[in-house]
Structures are given as structure tokens and as C-alpha cells.
């Protein structure tokens, strides 16, 4: 079975696979598999493995990215529709202008329409989230669903993003760990042949992912809060 077939079948059957195998596929090929398996109109992109420590661990020198389709932006989360959901507090950028490959930093700054608190509801087919870079890329970087905050922020908030499940602090990390958003957008625009106005880019998580559980989800930052219910079914 090829990597492409394995991912397709696991997604279809909603089952997990043993990862960390050598499928004889490079990173570029993994992105082609991602594009073929997750086609359709794009609402935007997500960045993964944004910390250098994680990148080194995976043998990478840059983040990875995945595709975000309109149906992946959620109003509420129903956990039963995920295979093995995990949560990460994130920041997202909504673009107000196109951003061509090779654009200058000033253009990227002008293209930023605003920042929003966000939650990445990860969903990997790879058992226990143990995978190689190629495996996670082919699986659309564990793309599950996303929640977006309601309040536009003109700049990334200071301090930490804190994610609470039913009032218990589940994970947190410093916003600074996300790196420079402008640099990220320029990098991504180069990778994907340009970004479009009104697309949303999830900038990755500064905190370790945590398993989801039903109840109230909150993400707190110095600049506001995102709240959503997580339903069992």
C-alpha cells in the first residue's frame, strides 16, 4: 500500500494507522499527496511545527503547512466526528489583500487584515500522533477543524495563550514562540504560489497539543478570550 492509499483509506474508514514508517516518499511528494487527497476550494492554510525544536526533532528546517477548506471552520465542535481530536491554542491571520510569491515584508504587513484567537482541533490518522514529516504532511498536517475568535485584534497579543478545558488549564505557551507573522506569511506565499485576500492562515501553536474532552473550551490571551462548547456527539 502506498502512503497515498493508506491515508485515503484511513480517512475514509476513520481509523488510525501505525506511523513512523518509511514509505519511500520525500517531502515534496508528500505535499503532492496532500493536494490530491484534500482538493477543492481553499479557505486558507495552517502552519505546523513552527518551533525550531519541533522542526529539529522531525528533521526539518522549516514549518510545514496544510490546507484549510471552508467546512473546516467550525461554529461548534462535535468530538464524535473526529478520529483522535487534540486541541491547540493558536492565532490566525485574515488577509485583506492578495500576497504574491516573492512579495516584500511591507506588502505582507499591508495584506494583514487582522489577528484572531483560534483553536486548531487537530485530527491525525497516525496512532498517538507518532508520525514522520512526510506522513503528517500527506495527512494534511493533522487537519481537523478550526475555531475562530469573534474579536479582531490589530496585533498579536502579548504574553501567553492559555487553553482551558472545563476551567482547568490544559496547555499554554508564549505568543512569541509563534515567530514573526510577516516572515511566516512570506514563507507560506512562496510555498503555495501566493495567498488570496480573505484567506485565513493559522499561525501554529505555541503550546503542546492536548486531548479534547467534552465541555467548555476557552482560550485566554491578554487581548480577549475565545469560548466554545465541545459536544460529545
Amino acid at each position: 500500500m502506498t502512503l497515498s492509499e493508506a491515508v485515503r483509506e484511513a480517512r475514509k474508514e476513520r481509523k488510525t494507522l501505525q506511523g513512523q514508517k518509511d514509505w519511500g516518499v520525500g517531502l515534496e511528494e508528500a505535499y503532492r499527496i496532500q493536494e490530491a487527497l484534500f482538493p477543492g476550494p481553499l479557505k486558507g492554510y495552517k502552519l505546523g511545527l513552527v518551533s525550531e525544536a519541533k522542526q529539529r526533532q522531525m528533521g526539518l528546517a522549516a514549518p510545514i503547512y496544510g490546507r484549510v477548506h471552508p467546512g473546516m471552520i467550525l461554529e461548534e465542535v462535535r468530538l464524535a466526528s473526529f478520529i483522535q481530536p487534540r486541541l491547540e491554542p493558536e492565532l490566525a491571520v485574515v488577509l485583506k489583500e492578495d500576497l504574491a510569491p516573492g512579495a516584500a515584508p511591507g506588502e505582507a504587513m499591508r495584506a494583514i487584515g487582522g489577528f484572531y484567537l483560534a483553536v486548531d482541533v487537530l485530527d491525525s490518522i497516525w496512532e498517538g500522533y507518532r508520525f514522520t514529516a512526510e506522513e503528517v504532511v500527506a495527512d494534511n498536517t493533522s487537519g481537523g477543524g478550526f475555531l475562530l475568535g469573534l474579536r479582531r485584534l490589530s496585533a498579536p497579543p502579548e504574553g501567553h495563550l492559555r487553553l482551558y478545558l472545563n476551567g482547568r488549564l490544559a496547555t499554554e505557551g508564549p505568543v512569541a514562540a509563534l515567530g514573526d507573522p510577516v516572515g511566516r506569511l512570506l514563507w507560506l506565499a512562496n510555498q503555495v504560489g501566493g495567498l488570496k485576500a480573505f484567506q485565513v492562515v493559522f499561525l501554529g501553536s505555541p503550546a503542546p497539543a492536548v486531548p479534547a474532552e467534552a465541555g467548555v473550551l476557552e482560550v485566554w490571551s491578554e487581548a480577549g478570550v475565545l469560548v466554545a462548547p465541545l459536544w460529545e456527539v
Binding site: R151, Y164, V216, V225, L226
Partner: protein, 502 residues
């Protein structure tokens, strides 16, 4: 008025949690199964920011008459139902409360200014359980029989009384409302709830829950308003109200008793407190500090049961006070909706001023070890009614701050030498609601618990509630007991049937 930015965010939070109603809130009465718009609106203020977050109508004679009439009409059917037929209605009510748990958690914080963290420590479960427990209790409990030796047998029958006025305070509004609603309805009475004017939101949401749960119209009604010359007074004077369950200040309790005496209403009164918290040298010091922190500063100390008079045995006095002050200094005061916050805002400007007046007395006559100031908080919380947790020492037992209920985050600490002295100090107030005894010596716990003139003693803990056990105050802290069958005297009419068997 503060720009209502935070309110907008909170509205967004509520909507995100599935809050089923339109905002901003215009609180309505709930009379005879209908939400009645009312008149004479007054503002509802979020204590943490001073923002107006809703408006509520003041009920006058008209609304009270309508609500009591609706309750009386509903009583004709509800009171005749066997408990097992009432139970499914009440269970649905309890389920609805649980279903709206996240919304109740936020709304309770908006009402009171309490940290949402405290609402998540089982508060909503306790609300639902208050109703469910009594629904089951009414079904499962029998009554007594007294066979006589000379050919007679007595047996006891119990009947519901009629329309109950439930008058609840602002400190634990939803908890105390359900505490009364549960036995009132389960034992077959019908109710008109008059919540405190500072906290109408929780009562309004309870009415929504009751309505969605399909409670028959008129069984449960809510009329908003104030006390004197307002909904509270009209209810307590109303000839068709047969029982009044009141929780609140002792002074208000006296007025209600006077109002109720013309029509001989039944009264259950849970009034003020000035609970002693006795810490003996054998106590586990760290645990004693933890229990004391909760008993002192839970809900900003706005709890009738607060252990606000600390009596500490001299041999451990300094060590205990040092630890307590350190813990009080570390308590995070601020945005009550932030899950990390451990103390929120006092209920209202006028209440903050009242508490501050005790702080000022302490500043002159005693020593403030920590607190006594308003914390510096970022906007919009700089507009809220916050006060740092405050620990006062060098007081005399007769001092005003040791005798009167402060109802805020301020405790006084006094040393004692012997057990006898501790008991004497503990009993030395007009109040007798409850006490805390912290010791690892069993005999001492037994002796001291017996000697305290109070309705409830907690040994090595605080605020633990079993709905089967009697709850109420001694001395000036109340009249009557509620909980389990102890509430029968109040909620039921009792009849003895004496039968000749030959």
C-alpha cells in the same frame, strides 16, 4: 457609565456557549407560565466593571397580586398531585439546569462578581441536586405511626401548605433559589421567587429553565424588585401567601416577621452570621490555613456561613497567622471570568463602602496585616468593587469588627489559651449560624462541637452540604431548620389521625 466593551465580549461568550436568548438582557418577570415585561426598570450592574449589563423591572402590587394568584390557582392541581407525579417535572427542571451549566456559570458571575472558578467547583450540580434531591425525597419518605396500648393507633399525614414566597439574597442567588424551590415544589407547594435586586439574572434564567422543562404554569413564578415598599414587602404582606422562606440579613428578617404576623404566615429564616473558626494547636496547620482561606474569602467573604472570626490557640498563633497572611497575599484578585482568578468583586458600590467602613474602624483600633485596600487592576476592572483579602489582628472580642457581620473579604484573628476560653469567645456574639472547629483531637472536636451555640458545626472543613441534614441558625441567625425531613415542619401541613381499632 463605563463603555460596555467587556459586556459585549461577555455576550459573545454566552452566545458561543449556546445561550438560547437574545442579548442585551431585558429581564422579565415570570408569572403564570409567561414572561411578563414589567415596568419601572432598574439597572443591573456587573460588579467587576461597574457596567450596566441588563435592566430589570420592579414588581409592584399588581405583579405580586398576579403572581400570587397564578401560584394559588396552580396549587389547586399541583398540591393534589402525588409526589411521584411531580417528580418527573422537577427532574426535567434539574436536567435543564445541568444542560445549561456553562451559561449558569457565566451568568452567576455576572450577577455576583464571583470568580467563575468557584462556580465550577460543583455549583451548578448543587443547584440541580437541590431540586432533584427533594423530588426523590418526597417520593421515598413515609410518615410515622404511633400505636397506643389501649386500642388506638395514630398516624401522621402531611399535606402541602399553599403559596410560598421565596426571598433570596444576592450572594449565592441561584444556589439559594434552588435550595428553596426544591423542597417547596417537591412537597407540593407553589412558589413566587423574589430575588435580590442586585442579582436578577440567575432567577430569570431559572425561570427560563423551568419554562423549557415544562413546569405547569403558575407552579413557579418570579417577580423582581426591591424589599421595602416593593415586591418583597407586598409578597410578605399578601394574604394568600402561606409561607415565607427568607435568607438574608437579620434586620430584614425582623421586618419580614412583622409584616407576616398579620396573616400568621409560616416562616423559615436563615439570617446573618459571624461564624467562629476555632483553630486548636493539634490542627494540621496547612490544612487549617487552606480551610480558613476558603471559609474567609470564598465569594469575596460574602457568605452568611463565612468563618470570619478566627480564634487561634496561642502556641500556634504566630505560625498560623504568618501562613494565612502569605496565602491571602497570594490570592489572585481580578477579572472574575478569568479561570485563574480566585477572588472577584463585591456586589455593589454601597456594599463596598459598608465593608470599607469596617476596614477604616480596623485601621484605627486594630492592626491590618494585609489587605484593606482596593487592588490596582487594569481597565475596566478599575471600575469594579474590588477589595484585597484583609486580615485584621489586635482586636478585642467586644470590638464592632468582632461582633457585627461584615459580609466581605475581611477576617479578624484573636488568640486564646484554653479550650474553655475559645468556647466562650466563640459564643460571644448575637449570632449562631455555624462554626468551624479545627483540631486533630477527637475528644476536643466532640466537646467543643457540643458547647457551641450554633446550627451547624464543621470539623476540619467548611461549606459541605448534605441535603438530608438540618440546616439553620441558632440565636439571632434564624428560625427553623431546612433539609431532609427537618423541612417538614415548614413546608408541610401535618395532620394526626387517631383511629379506634375496636
Amino acid at each position: 457609565m463605563v463603555e460596555p466593551k467587556l459586556y459585549k465580549e461577555t455576550v459573545e461568550r454566552l452566545k458561543a456557549l449556546g445561550f438560547p436568548y437574545e442579548l442585551p438582557l431585558e429581564v422579565t418577570h415570570y408569572i403564570g407560565g409567561e414572561f411578563v415585561r414589567g415596568e419601572n426598570f432598574f439597572p443591573v450592574i456587573y460588579p467587576a466593571t461597574g457596567e450596566v449589563i441588563a435592566t430589570a423591572p420592579e414588581g409592584r402590587e399588581k405583579e405580586v397580586d398576579l403572581a400570587v394568584a397564578a401560584a394559588k390557582e396552580a396549587f389547586a392541581k399541583w398540591g393534589k398531585m402525588p409526589p411521584s407525579q411531580r417528580r418527573p417535572y422537577l427532574r426535567r427542571f434539574a436536567d435543564k439546569i445541568r444542560e445549561w451549566r456553562p451559561v449558569f456559570e457565566v451568568v452567576e458571575t455576572l450577577d455576583v462578581g464571583r470568580p467563575i472558578h468557584e462556580n465550577r467547583l460543583g455549583y451548578v450540580d448543587r443547584m440541580a441536586n437541590n431540586i432533584e434531591f427533594f423530588a426523590d425525597f418526597a417520593v421515598t419518605h413515609g410518615s410515622e405511626a404511633y400505636p397506643m396500648e389501649n386500642g388506638y393507633i395514630n398516624y401522621v399525614l402531611r399535606f402541602p401548605v399553599g403559596v410560598a414566597a421565596l426571598i433570596t439574597p444576592w450572594n449565592m442567588p441561584s444556589m439559594l433559589a434552588t435550595w428553596k424551590i426544591g423542597p417547596t415544589l417537591a412537597f407540593g407547594n407553589t412558589a413566587v421567587l423574589k430575588p435580590a435586586e442586585f442579582t436578577p439574572l440567575g432567577a430569570w434564567l431559572l425561570a427560563k429553565a423551568a419554562h423549557e422543562a415544562g413546569l405547569p404554569p403558575g407552579v413557579f413564578n418570579v417577580v423582581h424588585g426591591f424589599g421595602p415598599n416593593s415586591a418583597g414587602e407586598f409578597l410578605t404582606r399578601h394574604p394568600d401567601v402561606r409561607l415565607i422562606s427568607f435568607t438574608g440579613e437579620t434586620t430584614t428578617g425582623r421586618i419580614i416577621m412583622k409584616n407576616a404576623s398579620d396573616t400568621l404566615k409560616r416562616l423559615s429564616m436563615e439570617l446573618g452570621g459571624k461564624a467562629p473558626n476555632l483553630i486548636f494547636e493539634s490542627a494540621d496547620l496547612d490544612r487549617a490555613v487552606e480551610v480558613t482561606m476558603r471559609a474567609s474569602f470564598f465569594n469575596q467573604g460574602e457568605v452568611c456561613l463565612a468563618g470570619s472570626r478566627l480564634l487561634v490557640q496561642r502556641s500556634i498563633y504566630q505560625a498560623f497567622v504568618d501562613k494565612l497572611v502569605a496565602a491571602a497575599k497570594a490570592l489572585k484578585v481580578g477579572d472574575p471570568l478569568d479561570p485563574e482568578t480566585r477572588m472577584g468583586a463585591l456586589i455593589a458600590q454601597e456594599h463596598l463602602e459598608k465593608v470599607m467602613s469596617y476596614v477604616e474602624i480596623a485601621r484605627k483600633t486594630a492592626t491590618i496585616l494585609t489587605g484593606g485596600r482596593r487592588p490596582e487592576l487594569p481597565h475596566p476592572f478599575d471600575q469594579g468593587y474590588f477589595l484585597e483579602p484583609t486580615v485584621v489582628v489586635d482586636v478585642k472580642p467586644s470590638d464592632k469588627v468582632c461582633q457585627e457581620e461584615i459580609f466581605g473579604p475581611m477576617v479578624v484573628v484573636m488568640p486564646f489559651d484554653t479550650e474553655e476560653e475559645a468556647i466562650e469567645l466563640a459564643n460571644n456574639t448575637p449570632y449562631g449560624l455555624n462554626a468551624i472547629v479545627q483540631t486533630r483531637e477527637v475528644g476536643q472536636a466532640v466537646r467543643v462541637s457540643e458547647a457551641l451555640e450554633v446550627g451547624t458545626v464543621w470539623v476540619n472543613d467548611w461549606f459541605v452540604r448534605d441535603l438530608r441534614v438540618p440546616f439553620g441558625g441558632a440565636k439571632q441567625s434564624g428560625i427553623g431548620r431546612e433539609g431532609g425531613h427537618y423541612g417538614y415542619e415548614f413546608y408541610y401541613e401535618t395532620k394526626n389521625v387517631c383511629l379506634a381499632n375496636k
